[in-house]
Amino acid sequence: MNFDDLIQGFPDLTTTGLAQGSIYALVALGYTLVYGVLRLINFAHSEVFMFGTFAALWTWGIMGYDSNSTRPDLGTALLLILVSLVVASLFSGGVAMAVEAVAYRPLRKRNAPPLVFLISAIGASFVLAELMGAFTERRQQGIPGLLPGEPLFSAGGWTVYPLQLMTFVVALAVMFGLDWFVAKTRFGRGIRAVAQDADTAALMGVNKGRVIALVFLLGGLLAGVAAVFYSMKQGNTRFNVGFLIGLKAFSAAVLGGIGNLRGALVGGLLLGLVESYGAALFGSNWTNVIAFVVLLVLLMFRPTGLLGESLGRARA
């Protein structure tokens, strides 16, 4: 127990925790969306995220920036990030839809029980991760540093780095966008209807198949956004990065109440903060234990997560 570190580093720990938590939250939304609609733990979502990191890496590579390049100026960096955001999220979205079409849709037609979906998802996860592993020779690949490494500003002990601020702001913006999309648009209404009662929604003329495909696409897009920021933060990627992030993000989704969009946001940020503080308190190699212990304790007292409402019952 090291309270001094916690108190002295509190501002730094908070900013890093929030930045990391934003990434968790973005990935967690993918789990929550799919779970809310299909009652299915989309095990392959972590690989969708992993494909996003490589899409970002390749995009930067094609545009002439690899891990050996010098840091570009701010304008170029922003352009690079923007392009990679678009490419990575489209790529991840595409992968997510492909997974749905190959591994889940045939099962849905046969009305398979949830466990069968889970195994199919595990199979898809193996296929995606190992394909990428074979393609990249299982090597870790470096990612160029794009944003300046100096602090953006510091005031009263609070130091904020450009990447952290950007991660947090973009994540929040994306999440508000998603919230609006689900609450206000016609497609969003379709998603909520299918989440509430798929068969009744289908009777009312909602195209169930299309809504489900859309949900996977949305989850993939968000995972792509998360992948870009994760790559920049981590400085490298590998064919198996998805596993741990996926596990954390899923925990975040459960923490906030799975099936609940705002719950994923709250859960993700909370998990990021808890990990960050916990690492200072107990040492960084206990990070993952802390995350899980918090999750287990919370589930014992509040089995439906913090906000604990389903996507279907979110306000109309």
């Binding site: 009305n111 199979g123 193996f126 169930k208």
Partner: protein, 400 residues
């Protein structure tokens, strides 16, 4: 439609019915022959006399994993089969989704390692033990501790709904692994515990039976598997087994009918955990060295895949599944050379390693998807459970 049962023609019956039709002595004889065959599996000569055409000079033998030691692969299959049998009780019989089953394996393995290794900190630092205990004595302790950890985990969590139970068990396995990795007081972190004891016994010429050679370990694990099968079969056909099936099919209805569901769920958890611990102690007896790297989460998922691939709720299915998930990737390692599979292709200037070794998990993953689509009840299903699934398929007309 007539109500009288028409005796089907013999060739129309499936394999299982045909087998059931045989007279009892014939069935027993067949089983004995089969078991003897199983004991013969690790010997190379067995494959040389199979009678398949073998490409000359390839060193290839059908079904023999030339890429790795056959007896070693079979031993690994063996303890995975045990794990699958244990998870089958939890998942197949009682219908509880446990994603962290390997945690119990870790508990069993560490118990054995701590008590049998002369370099365990229980001896060197804390002086709790005078000298290392023999392996055989520690196995029941390992089983008991695994069972206890199953009860401790199950007590607070079994009240949770299915998916939450999944994540809690997942967290449990991960916590065990990280604690084993990080703490230094007993488990020695990443450095692990060396010189773990082996099972007892010597050949007539005084050499230890259980040393570096894998074959005796395979025979041992095979024997244990056979014993466990009898145990589980009897359990499944008893009052306990019927209670599990009732819980799996409809928990609320079971509770209303007077089945104490919580108690039986806890029993399923404990018995599954005990078998997992047994598997871990067998593995530790062979491994000689135990550290946290063995207990990664992928293993839990592999065991889960084994149970569902084979067919949850069926002993034969768990065995088949446990065998496939280990054997198939290992076998794929060696077949590429024989059938002239290219090891590398070049796409857009990038060399991609397409050897079966590299792609074995791609193939395995694709197999999982295909089996789940076309045979969701598993390869060797439990009849009752297959019927439950079939009912489900009829229930809803898909709207697509």
């Amino acid at each position: 439609m007539t109500t009288e049962t028409v005796k089907k023609q013999r060739w129309k019956l499936n394999l299982r019915d045909r087998f059931q039709d045989l007279p009892k002595p014939a069935r027993i004889a067949a089983m004995v022959v089969f078991v003897v065959l199983l004991y013969l599996l690790p010997t190379k000569a067995f494959y040389e006399n199979l009678g398949f055409p073998i490409p000359v000079g390839s060193g290839y033998l059908p079904f023999y994993t030339t890429g790795s030691d056959m007896a070693g692969v079979l031993f690994q299959c063996g303890y995975y089969i045990l794990l699958a049998l244990g998870l089958n009780v939890v998942l197949g019989y009682a219908g509880l989704l446990d994603l962290g089953f390997f945690g119990f394996f870790a508990v069993g393995a560490y118990t054995v390692a701590l008590l049998t290794s002369p370099e365990s900190k229980l001896i060197t630092e804390y002086n709790w033990l005078e000298s290392p205990w023999p392996w055989l004595v520690t196995v029941p302790i390992a089983i008991a501790l695994a069972m206890l950890s199953g009860v401790l985990l199950g007590w607070p969590t079994l009240r949770l709904r299915g998916d939450y139970l999944a994540i809690v068990t997942l967290g449990f396995a991960e916590i065990i692994r990280i604690v084993a990795k990080n703490q230094d007081w007993i488990l020695n972190g990443d450095r692990g515990i060396p010189s773990v004891g082996h099972p007892p016994g010597t050949w007539p010429d005084g050499e230890a039976i259980f040393d570096l050679e894998f074959t005796p370990y395979y025979w041992l694990v095979l024997t244990v598997i056979i014993a466990v099968i009898f145990l589980i079969r009897n359990l499944a056909n008893s009052r306990v087994g019927r209670a599990w099936v009732a819980i799996r099919e409809d928990e609320d209805a079971a509770e209303l009918m007077g089945v104490p569901t919580f108690k039986f769920k806890l029993w399923a958890f404990a018995i599954g955990a005990a078998i997992g611990g047994l598997s871990g102690s067998l593995w530790a007896g062979q491994a000689n060295f135990v550290n946290s790297n063995t207990f990664s989460l992928e293993n839990s998922i592999l065991v889960l895949a084994a149970v569902l691939l084979g067919g949850a709720g069926s002993i034969g299915g768990a065995i088949l599944g446990g065998f496939i998930v280990i054997y198939l990737p290992e076998w794929l390692r060696s077949v590429g050379d024989v059938f002239g599979w290219p090891t590398q292709v070049e796409i857009a200037g990038i060399h991609i390693d397409v050897s079966p070794t590299s792609l074995r998990f791609v193939i395995f993953g694709a197999l999982l998807i295909v089996v789940m689509i076309y045979r969701p009840q598993g390869l060797w299903p439990n009849r009752r459970r297959a019927a439950e699934l079939k009912d489900r398929q009829k229930e809803v007309a898909p709207v697509e």
